[in-house]
Symmetry: C2
Subunit: 386 residues, 2 copies
């Protein structure tokens, strides 16, 4: 049996599978109620409009007049229409045949790499969402990490003089929360074009960008010539359990748009009609308002956590465009050490920076939680004796 | 930009994308009402129990008490329980940690190949479902086709003396409908074990097997030591638009079970809660009965088509375990020629054998249709002047 050796290059467990086990263990052993701020999973129920829309769609599947079989491979027009409209609002011109509805960003971040040659050189500024890098390792690509600086709010700067085939950028960044400015993105676009690279832009958190900020790479000049954008409804609509997102492959990217279509033909069979109907409800005034309310709720959670961290004089990334708080460990504590301390002394689960492939002493706290748990967590952090 | 050259080895379009376009064109141009027996897509609405269950699940997503975020990466226990029970009924012992809930068989047939080394040698008896072979081409594997014989009902015989890393088998076969007997499967298992190969067993149509037949490869001795089984709810439950299936990776397969888990960690994020709830309803007496009724309905459709073909003295694969009818072209007509004739003269869309990577003069007719359309199609075929 010829096993894929590249799996051997990965940590034994996926970090969030490891965390889930850790929380389970802690819940058994700890006297404190464990508050899970580790995995970035939404905790509030779906706004009524999304649940209602999916209920209606489920009912349709049982009726002759409204039953539908295989979804169109690139997604239903009713959803793609809405996405085109959103791009227009965000200052970008995208057409329906550049949009591919997907089952979420995680799988897509790896899938798109299959369009490129084997063993290509791929750049990941770190800390970064680990799944994308791990997928590239499994595919046999040459993955290079580019560490970023706290002084620069962890926003990476192009490594001029070096060349890569693919460059993964995430804005607002998971885990640091930093959102790229127009000019920061422009510098990456110029760098990519001049070095013949393609940018894979992870916009899973783009709806968290403060008003006035850049919500899509396609709002930046030149992006359609060098970037694929991957988006998700998981965090903006609370769809982590529903599985729906989309990928944009501009026609300006030469063969990539048709290669992507060809890949779907062989490797994918579309997204549940019910999920797509739920997602499409976002593109109504009521849906937009409901989603925004949730986003603001989670951002307020992040602010509550930051107040507690400030009391402790701990450094954190002060982005207002993210559901995550990236915190520096107290002096002398490693990323795992601080994470253990938070679990043992505060009953709070966090993600050590190691999980984001970063060799620095930080942890990520997720603000995707109920207000009650966030208040409780903030109090426990403020009471911590460091 | 370094493109994946292996895409160049594929036909320009995925065969079923090509067919969808063909039907669309024909519907515009033809005076006859076009009956689509090309793509194997179910046409009847979901039995009420499945639609009801998904409606209930959709409602749950909007309530605090019942909301769920990310699904467990390998699927919900309520669904895996049912699957374990079904295997027991079918004469196989499978445990929950060998089961992985997926978004359907099509993606999985390619995904599992990623567990193995790059450039491995992969055997496909043909005619076969094209997506699996195409996925292996995209991944850079060395794909070898093994033509099968009409005399043997297109059931392949192991190519003794040659060795492969992976072997794809499909039973009942798409497109020929042939179902492997216990001894036929046993010969493949013996061959795989003796040549250190892994069998990827596509059981998407396993619920169509006549009672007394083999419904899972794991009912055959030795299979857990050499086979991964991929199943789907698409055809048995009518879930083509719902996207749910599962893959079994036995623990006897050494590292493969943990590698598969590791792959999910990096490359997948689980299946919609609503879809999983719908699928789980199958494992109730009412659900089973409803699904069986649909399966028998489509099988009866196939019998209706066969009667018309018999009138025309055309050869067809006489399997009772399949929703497909595999028909030999009339003398002098190629696979595409006969397919065109059926479209032009009968207004019936079919799939030429070329679409199943087979160099023989056959077409596949799908019986996934309404009874009305099948009667109409049968009449048109019987009236055809050959």
């Amino acid at each position: 049996m010829k096993i894929n050796d590249d799996f051997g290059k990965l940590p034994a467990d996926y970090v969030f599978a490891e965390l889930a086990e850790k929380v389970k263990r802690a819940r058994k052993l700890s006297e404190k109620r464990i508050i899970d701020l580790g995995i970035g999973d939404v905790k509030l129920p779906l706004p009524k409009i999304f649940a209602d829309e999916m209920e209606k769609a489920a009912k349709e599947t049982g009726k002759k007049e409204t039953f539908r079989g295989y979804p169109p491979q690139s997604g239903y027009d009713f959803l793609k229409n809405g996405i085109v409209g959103e791009y227009a609002r965000d200052g970008a011109e995208i057409s329906e045949d550049e949009i591919f509805v997907t089952d979420g960003a995680k799988s897509e971040l790896g899938n798109v790499a299959e369009l490129f040659g084997k063993g290509i050189k791929v750049l990941f500024p770190v800390p970064c969402y680990p799944a994308a890098a791990e997928s590239n390792v499994i595919l046999g690509n040459d993955v290079v990490y580019l560490p970023t600086d706290r002084e620069n709010d962890f926003i990476p700067v192009p490594p001029y003089g070096k060349t890569f085939d693919l460059i993964y950028l995430c804005s607002p960044s998971n885990p640091t929360g930093g959102a790229f400015s127009y000019l920061q993105l422009k510098s990456w676009i110029d760098y990519a074009i001049s070095s013949n690279a393609v940018i894979i832009y992870d916009g899973a958190y783009s709806r968290f960008v403060e008003s006035g900020g850049v919500r899509t790479i396609y709002a930046v000049k030149g992006a359609k010539n060098c970037a694929i954008e991957i988006r998700s409804f998981s965090k903006s609509l609370g769809f982590t359990g529903i599985r729906c997102g989309f990928t944009v492959v501009p026609k300006e990217l030469g063969d990539l748009n048709s290669l992507y279509k060809r890949r779907i033909g062989a490797r994918f069979n579309g997204v549940s009609y019910i999920s797509q109907r739920g997602a499409a409800a976002y593109f109504t005034p009521e849906g937009r308002k409901a989603a925004e309310k949730r986003i603001n709720f989670y951002k307020t959670n992040a602010s509550v956590l930051k107040i507690a961290l400030k009391k402790q004089n701990l450094w954190y990334n002060n982005s207002c465009s993210s559901p995550y708080v990236f915190v520096k460990s107290p002096d002398g504590l490693s990323s795992d050490g601080f994470s253990d301390l938070l679990l043992d002394n505060c009953g709070i689960c966090s993600t050590p920076a190691r999980g984001f492939l970063f060799d620095g002493n930080y942890v990520r706290l997720s603000a995707f939680s109920t207000r009650e748990d966030i208040f409780e967590a903030a109090e426990r952090i403020a009471d911590l004796r460091l």
